[in-house]
């Protein structure tokens, strides 16, 4: 039995020199194209990276009640979003535990498209009784690419019908890209300027070729999941299954997270028509949430010292780590766990996402994180800092004037590029 492949596979597999693949939602996905992911991380922050996001689960909801229906499902009030807008939201079960997080785009008057990390067709169908909606799982019908990085707009500008200068942050448009009909949204998982482009499977190869042709002069390179992991941690984005676990997959309540526990409390539009989990979230907020998901910065001096103790130079590879390690307060009591961490090449800091018990979540709180430089477990001090760690203005900005044509040579990816 062979793993499933996306329609872009002929292109991506030809480019994957490292042969490093992994499984994502039943599809084969590239971890890194180059022998190491470093170059891809730099590309995202200096030129652009192109990522195959076909494995995202997609649900299309159509009908006069689509907005109202989706408002019951998601923690954001979907019924108020206008055409061409995209929102990021969480989705909870009746007891207020997060099932998933994802985006909801209003593609047309009565047509919405949701993306998520897990499949939810049955969940949607079971809650749609009485609503005039048509729900279709379009995961396998549509393929997608994410184009992320400072040159992303410039790359697309030449090949899209719609004037990309006019596309604002978290907006979307049905247009053509390289002649191919596609939905383009200014969204992404890297916390940078970027776009996600979806099209029907039969256009996949044409779309890929068009973007590559336009991107090459700008120094765009294909990018794998490892680089994405680094970028998203820099952006402070949580990943379901890593930073919190979908209540669907948890055998016990202790493993589940409410939106506030998972740092997704800001997505909850609480006081409105009933939505799934509303009563539970209200009760939790009245009693006080237990956890929070915070950003930590591990002390560079501390890390240096640990390595020096062992007689080693510090060795921090810019690869995201998903091993969960304990977080302690200054008295040595465990108050949480790091879920994702990385030495950020962009920020030159050691960053981590961690679930910690309140009240240890306040900015500036000093904590300890377990760190194992040699085989012994040590602790290094860490501070709760603002998220996102990396938030360039270009992520949201719209140009005052047209962007420059790609006349300059492609920058050397190993050079640091100031944001």
């Amino acid at each position: 039995m062979t793993m499933r492949t996306s329609p872009f596979h002929p292109k991506t597999s030809a480019l994957c020199a490292s042969y490093a693949w992994k499984e994502w939602a039943g599809y084969a996905a590239v971890c890194h194209y180059m022998p190491h992911s470093e170059a891809e991380v730099f590309a995202v922050r200096s030129t652009a990276g192109l990522l195959d996001i076909t494995p995202l689960y997609k649900l299309d909801v159509k009908g006069p009640d689509a907005g109202v229906f989706l408002s019951r499902i998601w923690t954001r009030d979907i019924s108020t979003i206008g055409r061409g807008r995209v929102v990021y939201s969480a989705m909870c079960d009746e007891r207020g535990y997060v099932l998933d997080d994802g985006t909801v785009a209003r593609i047309g008057e009565d047509h919405y498209r949701c993306t998520s990390s897990e499949p939810w067709l049955a969940w949607f169908l079971n809650h749609s009784r009485g609503f005039d909606v048509e729900i279709t799982d379009t995961t396998d019908a549509l393929c997608g690419l994410a184009l992320q990085g400072p040159r992303a707009r410039a790359i697309l500008k030449g090949i899209t019908e719609f004037d990309m200068d006019k596309m604002r942050f978290f907006r979307m448009r049905k247009t053509t890209v390289g002649g191919v009909p596609a939905w383009v949204s200014r969204t992404g998982y890297t916390g940078d300027l970027g776009y996600e482009i979806f099209c029907e499977n039969q256009h996949a190869l044409a779309l890929y070729d068009a973007i590559v042709a336009a991107g090459e002069p700008h120094g765009m390179i294909p990018m794998g999941l490892d680089a994405l992991d680094v970028a998203r941690i820099e952006a402070g984005f949580v990943l379901q299954g890593v930073d919190y676990i979908s209540a669907k997959s948890c055998l016990i309540d202790a493993l589940k997270s409410t939106p506030d526990d998972a740092g997704l409390g800001w997505t909850v539009d609480l006081d409105r028509a009933p939505f799934i989990g509303q009563a539970a979230i209200r009760a939790e907020r009245a009693a006080g949430p237990v956890w929070d998901l915070v950003g930590l910065e591990l002390s560079w001096e501390g890390l240096e010292a640990l390595y020096a103790e062992a007689g080693l130079p510090p060795h921090l590879a810019p690869e995201a780590c998903r091993s969960s390690v304990p977080v302690y307060d200054l008295d040595g009591e465990q108050v949480g766990q790091v879920t994702s961490s990385v030495w950020s090449p962009t920020c030159k800091r050691y960053l981590a996402l961690a679930q910690v018990r309140r009240p240890h979540h306040y900015l500036g709180t000093e904590l300890f994180v377990e760190y194992t430089p040699m085989f012994e477990r040590k602790r290094v001090s860490a501070t709760v800092v603002e998220k996102p760690f990396f938030d360039p203005p270009r992520k949201r900005s719209v140009p005052e004037r047209p962007a420059p044509a790609p006349a300059e040579p492609a920058p050397d990816p190993s050079e640091e590029v100031a944001s």
């Binding site: 009485g130 939505f275 799934i276």
Partner: protein
């Protein structure tokens, strides 16, 4: 004085209206059909009507002295009485449990949810203790048995078994060889005593009179099409003719499924409520024929079961199970003053190909054929047949089911129709359920409407 609406003018609707009115409410009953009475017009078994229910309604009705059970089998008419092997001993065994079953059936079922106070279970625990440990264990042993195995243990011949089982199976989706059918037979038998003098007609007359005396308003040909919910509580009902009637108390005696899935709009149903109601099983397997006879049939017996033995009863169930027209349905015939009600077991609601006119005609012909072995069918005048599809259409019975929901081990007592609804209150303020789809179940008791109204 608050305005209360009762949906459904059948026996439970009238009972609920009486109790509510007696308690001081200003009650209006809305009945979709042109006449009040609902299932009183098609059922015939009044032996299960509970004395405590009549007392709570302030109704006094004489009972007929118990008649032996008549059984038309293999061409002859016999009686299933204590003279038949094993029957007396078995009836004594049923009597052993009657106290417990009757007491459970005369009160709301215990609340078994996790956050329910533990003392909710004390009542039934007490009643169980009166049985003694041996009795309780024996009841636990009998429950899962199939009726045939249980009655075999008492040595009752298979043909007599069919007569004892058939009336109990109408409300189930089981045959005599189905596990837990013994429990259905036990409950039905334990709850049945003597029939009411004058039968269903007398019962209906008494209910109507009492309701009238208490000032209950009844409106026929008034179908409720919507229950309005505002801010989590009922605010009134809409009728088919467009009228809106304000009310903060609505007691529905139509099925839980119809009430919560059709009358209450999905958008105002509290999140999570509806999921389990869609699973309530309501597979009707009984068709009804009502007719007049110009002269008494079956020697005037008020109740006759027409089926050969447990095997034929099982085959009738198999026909229903496989969605076929019954080749030889088991019949429960009730006779009262020239009116005859025939309940034909074996006719599935979801007949393969649907209940076309042809299918209905075939069914009717089959009924006549079965009866012709025992009676002169020429005596039958003016007969009307309701297939399960007709029962659904005409009487608003979900799945054409005569009791709005199957009797099963997971759909009886505190589980009927679901632990969170079993005590008649829904999570919508002011909305109560009081039809046959609620506790008590097992036979026609008239208890649901009373208990539901008492819980308001």
């Amino acid at each position: 004085m608050s305005q209360a609406v009762v949906i459904g003018g059948g026996p439970n609707g009238l009972a609920a209206a009486i109790v509510l009115s007696d308690a001081g409410h200003d009650v209006t009953v809305f009945e979709a059909r042109d006449e009040m009475g609902g299932r009183c017009h098609i059922l015939g078994d009044t032996a299960g009507v509970q004395p405590w229910a009549l007392k709570a309604l302030g109704i006094n009705l004489e009972r007929d002295s118990a008649e032996p059970l008549h059984h038309a089998t293999s061409g002859t008419l016999v009686t299933v009485d204590d003279a038949v092997t094993g029957v007396a001993a078995w009836r004594a065994e049923v009597a052993r449990f009657t106290g417990l079953i009757a007491s459970l059936s005369s009160a709301p079922p215990p609340d078994i949810r996790q956050d329910a106070p533990m003392f909710a279970l004390l009542g039934p625990a007490f009643a169980g203790l009166k049985l003694g440990r041996a009795g309780a264990l024996e009841l636990a042993r009998i429950g899962p048995l199939c009726a045939e195995d249980w009655l075999d243990e008492w040595g009752i011949p298979r043909s007599a078994q069919a007569a004892l089982c058939a009336p109990a199976l109408h409300g189930t989706w089981m045959g005599p060889r189905s596990p837990t059918s013994a429990l259905a037979v036990l409950f039905h038998t334990a709850l049945s005593s003597q029939p009411i003098k004058g039968g269903m007609a007398a019962l209906l007359t008494a209910l109507t009179a009492r309701a009238q005396a208490l000032g209950v308003t009844v409106e026929t040909a008034s179908k409720v099409v919507d229950i309005q919910v505002t801010d989590g509580a009922v605010s009134g009902v809409s009728l088919a003719d467009g009228r809106f009637v304000e009310s903060t108390v609505v007691l529905s005696t139509v099925g839980p499924k119809s009430t919560l899935l059709e009358l209450v709009s999905a958008k105002s149903l509290p999140l999570g409520t509806e999921a389990f109601v869609t699973h309530v099983r309501t597979r009707g397997v009984v068709a009804v024929m009502k007719c007049q006879v110009s002269a008494p049939i079956f020697g005037g017996a008020s109740h006759v079961v027409v089926t050969d033995d447990t095997m034929s009863l099982e085959r009738a169930f198999d026909d229903a199970k496989h969605r076929r027209l019954p080749a030889s349905p088991a019949l429960d015939v009730y006779q009262q003053d020239g009116q005859v009600s025939v309940l034909a077991f074996g006719a599935p609601f979801d007949l393969e190909g649907g209940w076309t006119d042809e299918a209905k005609a075939t069914l009717k012909a089959t009924l006549f054929e079965v009866l012709s072995a025992y009676i002169d069918t020429g005596l039958i005048e003016e007969s009307t047949v309701w297939t399960p599809a007709d029962l659904s259409e005409d009487f608003g019975l979900d799945g054409g089911h005569l009791f709005h929901g199957e009797f099963a081990l997971d759909q009886f007592l505190s589980f009927r129709p679901h632990p969170s609804l079993a005590r008649y209150q829904t999570t919508i303020g002011g909305l109560f359920l009081g039809g046959a789809g609620m506790h008590p179940s097992g036979t026609f008791t008239l208890g649901q409407g009373v208990l539901a109204a008492q819980s308001v």
